[in-house]
Every structure is written in structure tokens, then in C-alpha cells.
């Protein structure tokens, strides 16, 4: 199962969990999977154009914007990281 790392600002939606797991095989499917278990998380990550501008999603070390975007394939051994684009106040 792929590990999904959750940043601090989203942990109120994951009961404080900093890591979740998913068996889905693309980033898009993983986000749908997270949404089913933790409602509200999808709207924090995506807008009608795709990944919100101030959110970065990495598969391993690579930003999905430079891969296949939300259709990027995720292997069970991969780590997916949701990283805020800015550092906060």
C-alpha cells in the first residue's frame, strides 16, 4: 500500500494522522480514496482546474506537475507527499 504523508494543516481532517495508506493506483484515485475516508480533504487539494496552485503533490521525490499530473501512476511501494507550497506565517 502506498503511504500518503499529510501536512499539519490537513491533520484536523485525518484525526491527527500524519500518514495514511491507500491501495489506489493513481494520484487522482488516491485523493478520491482519501475523500471517502476523510470528507473535505479533496476540496482542500483540488479546484476545478486540478491541483490548487499553492499545493504540491509529490510521488517519491517528483512533483506530479512534471509527471502525468493527477493521472500519475502510484506503485504500492511509493510514498505520496502533500506539501504546502508556502511555509505559513
Amino acid at each position: 500500500m502506498a503511504i500518503v504523508r499529510i501536512p499539519t494543516p490537513l491533520r484536523s481532517l485525518t484525526a491527527g494522522a500524519d500518514e495514511l495508506t491507500s491501495t489506489a493506483s493513481t494520484v487522482r484515485a488516491i485523493i478520491d480514496d482519501l475523500e471517502a475516508k476523510h470528507p473535505g480533504i479533496k476540496d482542500r487539494l483540488l479546484d476545478e482546474k486540478g491541483v490548487r496552485k499553492f499545493v504540491n503533490i509529490y510521488v517519491g521525490e517528483d512533483d506530479i506537475r512534471f509527471l502525468q499530473g493527477l493521472d500519475t501512476t502510484v506503485q504500492t511501494s511509493d510514498q505520496v507527499s502533500i506539501v504546502p507550497a508556502i511555509a505559513g506565517g
Binding site: 500524519d18 496552485k53 499553492f54
Partner: protein, 300 residues
């Protein structure tokens, strides 16, 4: 007319207020002003707090020779510490999340400051926790001014920003608007303005969500609340989305020729909403909002 200043320290503050007639054209009864904090030498409002923190720490003997100054920052405070550390000859280390932009890191390192990375997943609160761990491990090495709890931070704005606004606008100002991160700008300025006239409305701007793109601003309900933050000094908290802040920054740039950063955009979004509220009720007003820094600081 040119003028002579004795030191870099003297170049901080005394920023102008600029009227924004085109941006505020839909609310002709309301005067909208930007306080141009990006004209400080380090490029942001944070120069004021850091100058006061260093001057007070040096005069009170809190910062000892041989100590390294350490603090956490998401960027602008780090630039101010780096600049003034270089000026005063104080070694500086800044702890910042590793997702702070390369451009900012380059600016900070240019002054000779060392950067220590904290976990980007933990944001600015993670940087605070890492500083605290480093201090515990090496208590004699470091001087930790802690911008989030240092009274010199709001003091800079009490004597500086607040007084400067009163000097220019006097009794005319009705509203003051600033985004809150440490909340130093709002706390110090609000205290000074309300001493002069308690009816001046002080409006804090915060992001509307915990995960946001308004760098420098804190979503207080999900953050470590700075000890200098006193919500009883606020008349209102205005929540702005990332998109509203970004779009307004772009609009200010195109309509007024001011390339400001996203947190300034958030402040001016709030200013415009409040101006429209006043206009609808037939009330006149004079609104001052902080233009915190320049937009090119956010270019990738």
C-alpha cells in the same frame, strides 16, 4: 531633495501612505491608502520588528558577545534578521521550512546567514519546534529573540507604524487593516491608534483555511497562537481565501502600478470589502491597509 542618514537602522520606517484612487473607484466616499512597507531596506514590514528586537536586546544585554542569534521564519523576518545581523556583526542562523522559495534562501544567504531546514510538512510551527529543540540542546550558544512572543515586535509598530499613520491622517482614519502572522504589526499599531481614538476599527486579516497560499499569514484556529497576539484588541477578523488574495494583488499591480505580495493582496481585498460595506450604508471612511512586501519575492 536628497537627505543623509547616519546608518542602515535609520532607513527603516517612515514609509509613505499612498492613495489608491483607481483600485477604490467603486467606493468614491471612502479614501483607501496603502502603507508602503515594501520600501523598507529589507523589502518588508518585518524590518521594523527586527530592528526593535535587536536594539532592545543589545541595550538590555540579552544578546551576549559570541552568541548566535537564532529564530524561526517563513521568509521576510529571516531577510530582516540577515540584513541587520550583517550590519551589527551578529552571527545569525534561521530555521525555516525547506519549502521556502529558493529566491528567499538566496537573499538570506547573501548576508552570510546560515539556514537550518525544518520539515515542510510541519510548516512554520514545525520551524518553531525545531528552534526550541536546538536551544534546549545548546542553551549557551544561542540567543533566541522569538519574534512570536517578543514585546519589541509590537513596540516597533506602536512607536513606528501607528504613530506615522496618525501623523499623516490624524482624526481622518476610520479603519486599519493588517494581516496577522506574529500579529506584531496589528497589535502595536492598534494599541497606538486606539489610544488616539478608540473608535478606529482595527481589522485583522487571516486565511480562510488552514492550508493556504497567503505566505506570512497565520490561520490562528489551527496554529500555535503567538503570545503577543491579543484578540481583544481587534474589532474584527476578516477571512480571505488564497485566490482572493492572489487576484487582488494582481489587480493592484495592474490598476495602481504596485507589484505587491499575496498577503498585501489579502489586506486590500478586505479593505475593498469594508469600503463597499461603508458605501452601501452611506458612511464615509478612511481605510489604511498594510502593503507588506513586493510581489517579485514570490516569483519562482
Amino acid at each position: 531633495m536628497g537627505f543623509l542618514l547616519p546608518s542602515l537602522v535609520e532607513t527603516i520606517g517612515h514609509t509613505p501612505l499612498l492613495k489608491l484612487p483607481r483600485f477604490g473607484r467603486a467606493t468614491p466616499s471612502i479614501a483607501l491608502y496603502a502603507k508602503l512597507e515594501f520600501l523598507n531596506p529589507g523589502g518588508s514590514v518585518k524590518d521594523r520588528a527586527v530592528r526593535q528586537i535587536l536594539l532592545d536586546s543589545l541595550s538590555d544585554g540579552l544578546l551576549q558577545p559570541g552568541q548566535t542569534l537564532i529564530d524561526s521564519t517563513s521568509g521576510n523576518t529571516g531577510i530582516a534578521y540577515a540584513m541587520l545581523g550583517a550590519y551589527f556583526g551578529i552571527p545569525v542562523q534561521m530555521v525555516m521550512p525547506s519549502n521556502v522559495s529558493k529566491f528567499r534562501r538566496k537573499i538570506i544567504r547573501s548576508y552570510g546567514t546560515e539556514i537550518i531546514d525544518s520539515d515542510p510538512m510541519e510548516g512554520s510551527d514545525g520551524a518553531i519546534h525545531l528552534v526550541r529543540r536546538l536551544i534546549e540542546a545548546h542553551p549557551d550558544t544561542y540567543f533566541y529573540p522569538d519574534q512570536y512572543s517578543n514585546p519589541s515586535n509590537p513596540k516597533a509598530h506602536y512607536f513606528g507604524t501607528g504613530q506615522e499613520i496618525l501623523d499623516v491622517l490624524g482624526d481622518r482614519i476610520t479603519h486599519f487593516i493588517a494581516g496577522v502572522g506574529t500579529s506584531g504589526t496589528m497589535m502595536g499599531t492598534a494599541r497606538r491608534l486606539k489610544e488616539a481614538r478608540p473608535s478606529i476599527q482595527c481589522v485583522a486579516v487571516e486565511p480562510d483555511e488552514a492550508l493556504h497560499g497567503l505566505e506570512g499569514l497565520k490561520h490562528m484556529p489551527s496554529s500555535l497562537v503567538p503570545s503577543i497576539h491579543d484578540s481583544s484588541r481587534l474589532d474584527r477578523t476578516f477571512r480571505v481565501s488564497t485566490e482572493q488574495g492572489w487576484d487582488t494583488a494582481e489587480r493592484i499591480c495592474r490598476e495602481e502600478g504596485l507589484l505587491v505580495g499575496h498577503s498585501s493582496g489579502a489586506n486590500f481585498f478586505a479593505a475593498l470589502q469594508i469600503a463597499e460595506e461603508l458605501e452601501r450604508t452611506g458612511t464615509s471612511g478612511c481605510i489604511v491597509a498594510i502593503a507588506c512586501d513586493r510581489g517579485e519575492r514570490y516569483f519562482e
